[in-house]
């Protein structure tokens, strides 16, 4: 691929990304009242999106091959328990990550 073609390809990726980020703000500008349906979506979507992001992060984990998702489940359990116990965001995240790293580096 020539340099110009590379620039065009990268430009297309930038354009696509910027479009998906700006579109809602362009369609529903701050000056005009937002339709009730969109306001409703703005309230209920985030919780659903966070659930989707958790699944998205784990999408390549296979239950049937490799370590059978055991390190992921154990580390997630550590995250959940730590967070229910202390409710310190950084502690829960660090604890779960260290646990996962130990599991995949030394056990699985």
């Amino acid at each position: 691929m020539t340099f110009t073609r590379q620039i065009i390809t990268i430009g297309m990726v930038i354009l696509g990304t910027v479009l998906t980020r700006f579109l809602p703000f362009l369609i529903f500008p701050a000056g005009k009242p937002t339709p009730a349906y969109i306001q409703y979506l703005g309230k209920v979507l985030p919780a659903a999106v966070f659930g989707m992001l958790v699944v998205y992060c784990l999408k390549n984990v296979s239950v049937f091959t490799g370590s059978h998702a055991i390190p992921e489940l154990l580390a997630l359990a550590v995250v959940v328990l730590l967070h229910r116990w202390k409710r310190q965001m950084l502690l829960s995240i660090a604890g779960g990550t260290v646990c996962y790293m130990l599991l995949v580096q030394f056990i699985f």
């Binding site: 691929m1 390809t9 990268i10 297309m12 990726v13 930038i14 354009l15 696509g16 990304t17 910027v18 479009l19 998906t20 980020r21 700006f22 579109l23 809602p24 703000f25 529903f28 701050a30 937002t34 349906y37 969109i38 409703y40 979506l41 703005g42 209920v44 979507l45 985030p46 919780a47 659903a48 999106v49 966070f50 659930g51 989707m52 992001l53 958790v54 699944v55 998205y56 992060c57 784990l58 999408k59 390549n60 390190p71 992921e72 580390a75 997630l76 995250v79 959940v80 967070h83 229910r84 310190q88 965001m89 950084l90 829960s92 995240i93 779960g96 990550t97 996962y100 790293m101 599991l103």
Partner: protein, 243 residues
């Protein structure tokens, strides 16, 4: 979020907002430096100079798409396909935008950058963070976005420059992002009176992952979530079950 801001009586608005924003981004610092370096190394071994990951991390700033862009650059020249792939992979940003219509309101010129830098992580922090009354919301969200952007840029550039010389065992460090989203999910969960939205997000995505596979489950998931939330509008729309 349980992190408390420790900014006390600082006269400077910017300093206060920064002091409050930085601790919230620490998990992203670890995650982005690592993932950014992985991306830089990937570009390096694919035959690109460090200028590519450096400038692409600055201008695109969307992790998963940047990895895909490497294969787009290595393949035949198909600009429309590049645009289509990007739109599909990044369609979830539409959901973030709809959720942030109110929150980004009144942030002035900073709003343009807030929207430009609205990746999964900056959206999640800016949506869930409990910003104290005396901290400027606009600057807080600006610093969260800017710091995330800088971490990703630093990681990608470092990976592109010296990735091939680094040999320390970081296997599993990418779990930091999964752990962060799990914690954010739990925080959202505790704020809800009913858990329909969270369960729909988790359940619909998981079902679509099983049916469509890891490569193509996102668009069906989003459509299913949208359909279910629309169908349940009469039930969920009443009485603020989400905060």
């Amino acid at each position: 979020m349980s992190l408390q801001c420790t900014a006390h009586k600082q006269p400077n608005t910017l300093k206060k907002a920064f002091t409050c924003a930085f601790p919230q981004t620490v998990p992203i610092f670890a995650g982005f430096l690592f993932l950014g370096m992985t991306y830089g190394i990937y570009m390096h071994v694919s035959g690109f100079s460090f200028w590519y990951p450096m400038l692409m991390s600055l201008t695109i700033f969307a992790g998963s798409v940047e990895f895909v862009a490497v294969s787009l650059l290595l393949g035949a020249f198909r600009p429309i396909q590049a645009l289509a792939v990007t739109l599909m992979l990044n369609a979830r940003h539409l959901f973030y935008g709809i959720s942030m219509l109110d929150r980004y309101r009144g942030t002035g010129i900073k709003k343009i950058y807030l929207i430009f830098g609205m990746c999964d992580e900056s959206f999640s922090i800016n949506y869930t963070a409990e910003i104290p009354e005396d901290v400027d919301r606009g600057w807080f969200m600006f610093f969260v976005t800017l710091l995330d952007h800088l971490y990703w840029f630093a990681g990608a550039t470092l990976g592109g420059i010296c990735g091939s010389f680094l040999h320390f065992n970081t296997e599993g460090l990418d779990f930091v992002m999964t752990a962060m989203f799990a914690v954010i999910f739990m925080e959202q969960w505790t704020k809800e009176k009913r858990h329909w939205d969270s369960l729909i997000g988790l359940g619909a995505s998981f079902a679509c992952l099983l049916i469509f596979g890891a490569e193509r489950f996102m668009i069906p998931s989003m459509l299913t979530i949208l359909a279910l939330l629309t169908l349940l509008r009469d039930t969920l729309g009443k009485g603020g079950e989400t905060v």
